[in-house]
Symmetry: C2
Subunit: 514 residues, 2 copies
């Protein structure tokens, strides 16, 4: 068996069953091995940012790594931006990067490059595997590294001759070590804060925003009158009617500071302290109030569910009923498009148990409050601030959860970075309904220009912030890649088009002109 086949068999045996791929010549033996091994679904992306963003979406929904298959240093480079986002989401991912044959590297052929150098900034584990006898063991180690809590990016470089040479030997993927419980003093310290009678913000990160951990957080909050928050850059939160409600910290620095002003203490549960997304002249970098006592109950690598259970136990809240979100029903709004109106349309149409992907930026500022009482659903956000994640995330989430509907809320500026994801949705027949908010601009930058004190923009500056002239026609872009698309210009047509899309098998797109 050649190295490539031993590697694919090792992955499949170790429970890695999806490969998002944009291969080239150096990956052909790996591709050929996919034919010979059952159990690996292979999904083509026409751009590497689609591949890495899809792997992130898959990981967020399964807590299990997918593979990416990428072509040498430039292919990895194209995937870096969404690996940045994935690293901030603590998503487990195994990158397999093909390289030239080991003996060919010395000739510095045109595609030769420093793959390790490109990989290092976003790889917690990185290895170049130089023999067919080692590749399966290296692949197994990569999977284990990706699964190490809280989830990591592992990059395995696969020279072509390592793939094609005989001598491969399938390896077992070692089990990932169970995540640790925080130190007892971290739990005691949090319990002391919760008993001191002062207002407490509890900031939940990672898996604390879901499942049993979230319910336990709700018990603690109910018992102590604490407030539950999520970071602005939240990877995935379970929300809607019947769920423990969590409030997202706003993006806008003044709003974030105002919202947190009343909290002299904060408990972090697998989340970093909240800070300004960017620095602004004369404004603080930290959004908690001066003197706020910040206590770390658990780091992201800890067992957040167990940490919250221990805290609930320490304060006697293990049976306290949590406050649960009530169902809110609204009649569909009508007429001219407003931010409040479009949010109501979406709130009314989110399908039961849907996965909502949100990169709506300025257009979606009203979405979270409006949808809090919708039917239960998951909400995935951009975790690293590199725009162009939503469409790829939707691909990965839909592959991970074929039984669930995906609603993808994308903006025109962001969508253009990775629009190729629409093609993958079409090829795979994914049940993704995309709403494309077309405001014809990087509108967030217009407010940021003012926020950073750069003054009133002139024509040249404005041209860098507006993406009209010419307007993008997302109906043509969507249908050009095989995704049926329509345009809505008022709330009535938006409601009708979105409702129809959500009833349709396969992907659809609604361009909402703002």
């Amino acid at each position: 068996m050649n190295g490539a086949e031993s590697l694919v068999r090792t992955f499949v045996g170790g429970g890695v069953n999806v490969c998002f791929a944009n291969p080239g010549t150096s990956e052909m033996h790996f591709v050929a091995a996919l034919d010979r091994v059952e159990g690996m679904r292979c999904v083509l992306g026409l751009f590497e940012g689609v591949v890495t963003g899809a792997a992130d979406g898959y990981a967020r929904m399964t807590d299990n790594p997918a593979l990416t298959l990428l072509h040498l240093a430039p292919g990895l480079g194209n995937g870096l931006a969404n690996l940045h986002n994935a690293s901030r989401a603590h998503s487990p991912i195994v990158n397999v990067i093909g390289d030239h044959a080991t003996y060919h590297k010395q000739y510095d052929a045109p595609l030769n490059g420093d793959i390790e150098g490109v990989a290092r900034p976003y790889s917690k584990w990185l290895r170049s595997s130089i023999s067919a006898a080692d590749i399966a063991r290296d692949g197994a180690a990569a999977v284990a590294a990706a699964r190490a809590a809280p989830g990591q990016i592992a990059t395995l470089i696969l020279p072509a001759d390592t793939a094609w040479s005989e001598g491969g030997a399938v390896a077992d993927v070692p089990p990932a070590p169970a995540p640790e419980l925080p130190q007892g003093e971290a739990i005691d310290g949090a319990a002391r804060l919760l008993r001191n009678g002062r207002p407490t913000a509890i900031l939940l990160g990672g898996r604390a925003l879901r499942g049993e951990a979230l319910v336990t957080a709700g018990r603690i909050a109910a018992a102590c009158g604490a407030s539950l928050f999520a970071p602005y850059s939240m990877p995935r939160v379970e929300r809607g009617a019947g769920r423990v409600p969590v409030e997202r910290i706003p993006y806008v620095i003044d709003q974030a500071a105002a919202r947190l002003a009343g909290f002299p203490q904060m408990i972090l549960v697998g989340a970093p302290p909240p800070v300004a997304f960017f620095a602004y002249p004369e404004k603080p970098s930290v959004v908690t109030p001066p003197g706020c006592e910040i206590h770390r109950l658990a780091e992201p690598r800890h067992d957040l569910t167990a940490a919250l259970a221990a805290l609930a136990d320490a304060i006697g809240a293990t049976r306290t009923p949590p406050l649960l979100q009530e169902r809110v029903r609204q009649s569909p709004p009508s007429g001219k498009v407003t931010l409040a109106g479009l949010a109501e349309v979406i709130a009314g149409l989110i399908p039961e148990n849907a996965i909502v992907i949100d990169e709506s930026i300025t257009s979606g500022r009203g979405l979270l409050p409006a949808t809090k009482g919708a039917v239960p659903h998951d909400w995935l956000a951009n975790t690293g601030g590199s725009i162009g994640i939503a469409l790829p995330l939707a691909v990965g989430a839909a592959i991970a959860c074929p039984e669930r509907r995906v609603m993808c809320l994308e903006s025109d500026g962001s969508g253009m970075y990775t629009l190729q994801a629409l093609w993958t949705m079409a090829r795979e027949g994914l049940n993704v309904t995309t709403v494309l908010f077309a405001n014809r601009g990087y509108n967030i930058l217009k407010s940021e220009l003012a926020n950073v004190g750069a003054g009133n923009p002139g024509r040249k500056a404005l041209d860098m912030l507006e993406i009209g002239h010419p307007d993008l026609d997302w109906c043509r872009l969507g249908t050009g890649m095989g995704v049926p698309a329509s345009r809505a210009t008022d709330l009535d047509s938006f409601y009708a088009a979105l409702a129809k899309g959500l009833r349709t098998d396969g992907p659809t797109l609604v361009e909402l002109v703002l």
Copy 2:
């Protein structure tokens, strides 16, 4: 004056007049400064690979750096693939990468990342500028570094507070040192080879493929009966009727080896020794015949024009008339689309002094022979093998040479990586006529799969090589970004559409279905 303004004034004063940009919040002060300073054209790209590829195209046509303006580590990551190609073209480029304010870095906000780590693999010069007082001097040094022969990539990291703080002081860009002449023995050695009577291949790289250097190479070849070659990955060659003809080394390894088999000696003029693009089992990495004596007349950093002049002098060929390509006229072909037929259509329609950008891959295998006798034109190819360069290159070349027509020959697989370039063509009204070869596949990979001995592909492997299901509709993709587009399915409609496009002001696209 703030740091940003001092930097922009330094660039303009130093002869850097074009900025290809995809900015974010951290670059807002730089963008605002563009409003206050005359003399910098700013061109927006909706994806960073468009930005870096356009800078490459601009550099290849002007031998002068343009700026790229990119947003933190992920923005740079998205630009890496075409920086890879630019580095192989020895294109001078100055990247300006915005970063968080220096004091904000410690908080590790979501977009924080290792910009230097991402930049290092493709930056010959790299600096993070931490004060407004230094930034202009650092920017001047970056320009000088970019201009150092043969042309380099320089990356300047610009923290937001460096840009917005007062205390900027405009700096002078030091002149780039003149490129050196090779050692006398390198010239003598080449002269000895040319006099020994054995067949000689002269491989021309970089600027040796243009202007006076090319004419001199033609004199040498004529005097000695040597054969002139260009690397497969040639950055820019001047060709067509009345020019010194140069033969490109084929991509396909067996063809390359067969073509060079008759040459026991080769002289390199600013080009690396020719090697296989990829390694293949049981095939050599080197395409020159065994025992071929390879002599380096000049490295890429040398003055290639002077080196060739010295060699011509050494062999007494300074007045030898070079062989010049004759004009070849063909009547337009008709009927079914064939590779030979489409090449003839293109050959007949290349406008005088046009810039032809070629990333046609398998569809364009017949293009160079067919167009050798066309009217004079420049031909730009993919230099680093990272596909997705042609559309961005066309943007940069058209900005560099507004008086010339650009014909962009792109393939569907490659085009999808950076299709956003079409929007920039539309916004800027560039005279770029794109031919999109739609073969619905990564067809080169099908032959590569066989070449690497990976056997007959099954369904899963084929799905990774075919980009149909669904077919891309490039007419919709083009018009969706503001570029008028039409489809041709035979040579007659192709001729008519391409001729019309070349008469039209602004960009057009012809999808040629193969």
